[in-house]
Amino acid sequence: MIVVRAPLRISFVGGGTDLPDFYQRYQGRVISTAIDKYVYVVINRTPLIPYISARYKISETVDLPQKLQHTRIKAALIDLKIYKGIEIASFASLPAKTGLGSSSSFSVALLKGLFAFLGKKLHTQEVAELACRLEIKLVGEPIGKQDQYAASFGGINIFEFNSDDSVNIKPLFIDYKIRLEFENHLLVFFTGVTRSAGVVLKEQKENIEKKFKTLKEMSDSVYEFADLLEQGQFKNMGKMLHQGWLRKKSLASKISSGFIDDLYQAGVQNGAWGGKILGAGGGGCILFLSPLNKKDDIRKAVKKVAKKYKLTEFKEIPIHFVQSGGEILFNADRNFF
């Protein structure tokens, strides 16, 4: 048995610039951090059972990977020519489609695990590249590349997306004091509304030409955000998030809908410096950067809005940043005798 995990992520600035229509014309940049919520994948070798089992929200048992419903597992198994004798299960700290990049975390963990199953070990960069290939090329998701890299590398990084499809990884060098202070100024709420990134990103993709200038500004502002973070200037970072949120909102109509606008307004009116929707938008999580003494006011205010819109799943998600990325926690699948 092999146990693998990969962290979810929060992206702060630059989301959307990791799509090829943009980065093929201008370098895309995203700053994000891995958080202490994980997707776990467990792989079990079943040499005496000539089937493939995939256990997630549902349980599938098939005699050919082509018959699987789970798109990522199906594509990965066909690609790696694993046709039988394997059980794959996944577990997560949070539900899917929260805007925290969980599907790419799953892909990273899955590929790392499947390669270990084949007796091959992968470098973090290879895992990220393979996860991008799996999701974008093999499954055909209209998504970007930031999540696969964030999940594979872990930590707080700037990712630069080059026109030749290569990616530069620039880790941020901040000590535990600034990191913990930053965490303390953050508030993250799950709206309880889930959506698939693909739907929003498709519209966003169609708008890239029109919004090129806005995306360019977002890409350029990544370094400024990183500088502010290294100096611990949380208030100015909040203001930047506010600017970024306004920009992102103008990108696609589905990013913000009534309840999200109201939640955001409630946060800002009660003292938040700024905030954003996490993920492609349309639901998922909402994040605020706020002064410490305003956090309780914001909590109360957004809960009220959530109640108004009957968001029954609405809840605060405590967040800590982590350094760990895609990693094999346990591998007992070694004995080939």
Partner: protein, 208 residues
């Protein structure tokens, strides 16, 4: 005599000023990641470097948690290789001296682990042998080297080199000691900070 002491201090001082800060930060982040996934840290080197490794292990496994050791459900697991003199001599005698680290490392190594290799010249064959084993298994390597860094600095993921003229072992080993203590102190301060935040939270809860 005073001049001699001043001259030696000057060299050490210069090396400290030129520390590769970013590589040290990278190493600290790698150690934090291994803590998060509950992996193990293997540390080794020859002669004085082995003494540094042993000293660091004892600090890192215990002192790093200050006096709140019992309150941490998870600890660091730093292990000096080889763990016993018996193993050292067995590998050296039976297989060869270049296997004294790689041999025991191969016994222990799991995917969630990390390696700290210490070699002033960066060229010690037995150290490089173990580093290559780690690299083959995609295990992250923190390399503490001196002089021009040698092969170790080229292979390591965190390249902590104390650049000096060749054969300045005393300066390099002294500065390695400082870097290793810095690692311990960083996590000691971090855990103390977390502990005090936690105490504050507990007090806040009690006051309700």
């Amino acid at each position: 005599m005073k001049d001699y002491i001043v001259e030696f201090s000057r060299k050490v001082h210069k090396s400290l000023e030129d520390l590769p800060f970013k590589e040290i930060i990278k190493a600290l982040n790698m150690l934090e990641a291994v803590y998060e996934r509950d992996g193990r840290i293997y540390v080794f080197g020859n002669g004085g470097s082995l003494a540094l490794a042993t000293h660091w292990v004892s600090d890192f496994n215990k002192t790093v948690f200050s006096h709140h050791l019992h309150e941490h459900s998870r600890r660091f697991q730093a292990i000096r290789l080889p763990t016993t003199e018996e193993e050292l001599t067995a590998w050296a005698n039976d297989v060869g001296f270049n296997k004294v680290f790689a041999g025991p490392l191969e016994n222990y190594l799991q995917d969630s682990d990390i390696v700290i290799a210490i070699s002033s010249s960066g060229t010690s064959e037995n150290v490089i042998e173990a580093v290559k084993l780690a690299k083959k298994n995609k295990i992250p390597v923190i390399g503490l080297s001196g002089f021009d860094g040698g092969k170790l600095n080229r292979l390591a993921d965190a390249k902590i080199i104390v650049q000096t003229p060749k054969d300045e072992y005393e300066v390099v080993e002294s500065v390695h000691g400082v870097i290793l203590h810095l690692m311990t102190k960083y996590f000691k301060d971090y855990f103390n900070h977390l502990w005090s935040l936690n105490q504050r939270k507990k007090r806040k809860k009690l006051s309700f």
